[in-house]
């Protein structure tokens, strides 16, 4: 009869290997986490609140590292909710999507647009569900501010996104007629990387609409001096618009001839 010997030597080797690796692993992982936090890749923590909002299948999807796909599928429900007039559900689903992917500009941008434009306009026109026109107006404003809130939270999570600043500017301009805040948003948008060149002029236009002639004049002048002669020639249509705006405001503000950009 043979007796099996317990493989002590092997167990000791395994223990040594694991003991040697474990602290090294811990330090390395902590380093990676710190790097990711520094680079603003916070990801998403599976909180109880988030878990309660997701179905079991979607939770497993998130835990399996398929957060983006889960968020995309949740987003499909936003469209379904919109078609069914379930606006509060839309709001909740948009919040869920942005919680799952706080760094996705598309979700913040489209989410804000859905609430501040689509839902808000639908609330204004929904005579069947809300016959009271004042109430409809109130509802419309409510959804505009809901959309604005989505944009603002989006900017908090993605301060370098020109797109969200631009969309917020458009919202202030077209839905709230708040041109001063629109000017601030367009200005911030134009300073960020990747911003389209036309945004540089929008801030000055908004200040004109806000009847802040002095502010608009300063903005046009700054833009004029920022452009090099070569750029002025290249953007001929711009040049004419900027020149005419400056001339118009110089006359309106009675700027002394010697202080004018275009004295003649």
């Amino acid at each position: 009869m043979t007796t099996m010997r317990f493989p002590w030597r092997r167990v000791i080797w395994i223990a040594v290997l694991l003991c040697a690796w474990a602290p090294f692993k811990l330090v390395w992982e902590e380093g990676i986490e710190q790097q990711q936090n520094l680079l603003r890749y916070h990801g998403v923590a599976m909180t109880r609140q988030l878990r309660d909002q997701l179905t079991q299948g979607l939770t497993i999807g998130v835990l399996a590292g398929m957060r983006n796909v889960v968020a995309d599928f949740v987003w499909l429900d936003v469209t379904v909710a919109w078609e069914k007039y379930e606006w509060f559900k839309m709001d909740s689903l948009i919040n869920l999507c942005t919680s799952l992917e706080p760094r996705s500009i598309i979700f913040w941008d489209n989410g804000g647009w859905q609430l501040a434009w689509n839902v808000s306009v639908a609330a204004t026109e929904d005579v069947v569900r809300q016959p009271n026109p004042l109430r409809r107006l109130h509802d419309s404003r409510f959804w505009i501010f809901k959309g604005l809130d989505v944009y603002k939270r989006g900017i908090e999570n993605n301060p370098q996104s020109y797109k969200l600043w631009e969309s917020t500017g458009e919202l202030y301009q077209n839905r709230l007629a708040d041109y001063r805040n629109a000017a601030i948003c367009y200005q911030r948008a134009s300073e960020l990387p990747g911003a389209p060149v036309y945004l540089e002029r929008f801030s000055a236009y908004m200040l004109e609409d806000a009847h802040d002639d002095a502010g608009a004049y300063a903005a046009w002048k700054a833009l004029w001096y920022r452009l090099t002669p070569a750029q002025r020639e290249e953007k001929q249509h711009w040049k004419e618009k900027i020149m005419s705006s400056i001339r118009k405001l110089e006359n309106k503000l009675n700027i002394p001839r010697e202080k004018r950009v275009f004295p003649n």
Binding site: W13, K25, L26, E30, Y41, A71, W75, N110, P196
Partner: protein
């Protein structure tokens, strides 16, 4: 040393050939390619998000199907050899157990590389198609105004929109994303190998590896609670979290792929750090599996 390397390569080649001939893995791979290609049709319902959807779905499919291939192919490596009794013939020759094990693992890594490469090709083709569709749709929108090409601001806005589509679709960082997914798959495969060296059941290996994979995504949370939990965490809880944090790999770090898919810049040094982590972890797991397999009764 060279002889040993040659034996490992021969075993790896055979493992790859056997794996490629298996219908299950071929069907899985085919399913992955179909999933990626059809993501383009699903995405039609999402206005303005087509390319994002294709990117998310494509990388998701590579990760998921790759995981199935990694776990299933590794889990059956040893049981199949034992069942067919081919392991006795191989080990009767001058082949060390370590060489046999590493050769088998290398075969799975090659299979994974092949699968990921094929799915990536399908992904690139789908993205290219979606990009051309997006550009055509943008042009059609601007063409609603027949004089748009004579309006400089419209032309500028059109070029900006097209550039945005091209930047999103032809993002060179997608290479980093695929590399990270591959590294994660190799690590998952190594976990399956360790379990299969002491497990006697294929199902046990598959289920346990899947569980470790899922728990791996919560390892960073467990580590944070263990290290910063303070008095709120009991001694027993702390002990459990400590074991979890020290043994289970941090899979959650690899979700940085999501940031790449969202279009945020991830520096190469960070990607390489993660790939290095996966490589060292895989090496440790291989050493562990060799230690366990060395004295296993066959």
């Amino acid at each position: 040393m060279i002889g040993s390397l040659q034996r490992i390569i021969i075993i790896a080649r055979n493992t790859l050939t056997e794996a490629v001939r298996q219908k299950v893995l071929t069907v899985l791979l085919l399913f992955g390619v179909v999933m990626i290609c059809t993501s383009s049709f699903f995405s039609q319902v999402v206005i303005d998000q087509q390319i994002k959807f294709v990117k998310d779905f494509g990388c998701g499919a590579i990760g998921l199907i790759g995981l199935f291939i990694a776990i299933l192919s590794t889990a059956q490596l040893l049981p199949q050899e034992l069942h067919n009794r081919t392991i006795y013939t191989i080990l009767a020759k001058p082949v060390r157990r370590a060489e046999f094990l590493f050769g088998k693992f290398l075969g799975v890594v090659l299979l994974l590389a092949l699968s990921v490469a094929l799915m990536s090709l399908a992904f690139a083709a789908t993205l290219w198609w979606q990009e051309s569709q997006g550009i055509a749709a943008t042009k059609a929108t601007y063409a609603a105004n027949p004089h748009w090409e004579s309006i400089p601001d419209q032309v500028s806005a059109y070029h900006h929109d097209v550039d945005a589509i091209v930047t999103q679709a032809e993002d060179p960082q997608l290479v980093e994303a695929i590399l990270l997914l591959f590294a994660k798959l190799v690590m998952s495969s190594a976990i399956a190998l360790v379990i299969s060296t002491f497990s006697t059941s294929f199902i046990f290996t598959v289920i346990t590896t899947s569980m470790i994979y899922l728990v791996g995504h919560l390892e960073s949370t467990a580590r944070d609670v263990w290290l910063q939990g303070g008095a709120q965490v009991s001694f027993l809880q702390s002990g459990f979290l400590e074991i979890l944090s020290l043994l289970v790999p941090d899979m959650n770090s690899f979700t940085i792929v999501d940031e790449i898919l969202d279009g945020h810049a991830v520096p190469w040094w960070h990607t390489l750090n993660l790939v290095g982590y996966a490589a060292v972890y895989t090496f440790v797991l291989l050493a562990l599996s060799e230690l366990i397999f060395r004295n296993r009764e066959i």
